[in-house]
Symmetry: C5
Subunit: 102 residues, 5 copies
């Protein structure tokens, strides 16, 4: 899954009928430090998120798993509003566990 | 889902029979500011879109969800013509919600 | 879907038995102007394509939809030989439809 | 599948109910030499991994295969803690097996 | 599908039970000329491949199609050992088939 910062919403009237009633948000996919990895990703809303909030997004066929998006033509959905991300100091990169065999 | 600007169409006569009668559009995947992210994406048309229009495209297995593409060999489909995209000022990047634990 | 130019074929004898009898082509994924986006993509053939031809390729689970690839371990298949691509002048980029709300 | 180094965890209270009780880890996708390929990937935990550990991650619909993630809206899951990676000297690149036919 | 050169293997003891007995190989995704496109891809073995060999890999849900990986949490599998790749001279890029309509 990825982190996205919601920047706004998308409106469309001429569309596949299955999208009727579904809120479409737009946002940027970011890494944990605020750097943008992918701009303008459009996602279905399944956690009542709004502009400025950080959400967790899931993609692919799993985007159709939440009750709100079951059976819908979506490939990205916001499934959670992120409270916080804990990065641990002991997770700093150490020597790799790769061993070379001759 | 992504934003695409339709630039034209693709014609093919020697093809898998399941594609018979399906309109194939070609377009560029763009971010919300008009920058091209991916050129020449070919998509099935499920919202009667035409050249010059901005559409919402869905990819992967979800591309087979619309009635028009059910059971077809497609991995990208235009599902909606975009009316407008609202970007909110309060969505400007603020300090991240990431907290480091020592 | 994407555009690919077929450059040749791949032969393999020690393989999953489900691949038996399936023609494997190799080609480059290109944009509509001949620029290579991805080299050496290997695809199953479902439209009797040959070296030098431009084909439409579909990826992911949809690659298993054509009769020729149903139930096979493939993630890319050539589903059509492209006759031509029509790019419309009126599709030239215009001002975006994005509106900023304060 | 890919190699990821776990850097921490993600907490979310307002979320799709299917995520209840699921541990969400965050980590960097790396190559076997410690170079980061993708930062801040969020994954479900299916092997009791913790910060600093190297795990194997699986993506897409296969992320819903482990018992812990069956039926959940996830597209990335840590399925194994890596003990070691053995790189063989005889695997050094040699002349290609590609032959050109005129 | 893609071409990969096997460089070694991965060992993991604390893992999802469904991975028990499955050989995990590691390799680099290459184009047909030996250039590395993606390092350190981990794949299930379904064709008895070993270090130094060139294999065909399939990704996504299709990675669960071979008998050896059916129902397993894998998104990449080696399905064939490549004998040779034939690149045809007549496949050299020619003028595009794209026509612009005014």
């Amino acid at each position: 899954m990825k982190i996205a910062r919601i920047t706004g919403s998308v409106t469309a009237t001429q569309k596949d009928p299955k999208l009727s009633g579904l809120t479409l948000l737009i946002g940027d996919i970011e890494d944990g430090s605020g750097n943008v990895l992918e701009k303008s990703a459009v996602m279905a809303d399944a956690c009542s998120a709004g502009a400025g909030e950080y959400v967790l997004v899931v993609s692919g066929s799993s985007a159709r798993i939440p009750a709100k998006t079951a059976g819908l033509p979506v490939d990205l959905v916001a499934i959670a509003i992120i409270d916080h991300i804990d990065i641990r100091a002991e997770a700093a990169p150490s020597s790799t566990s790769s061993r070379r065999k001759n």
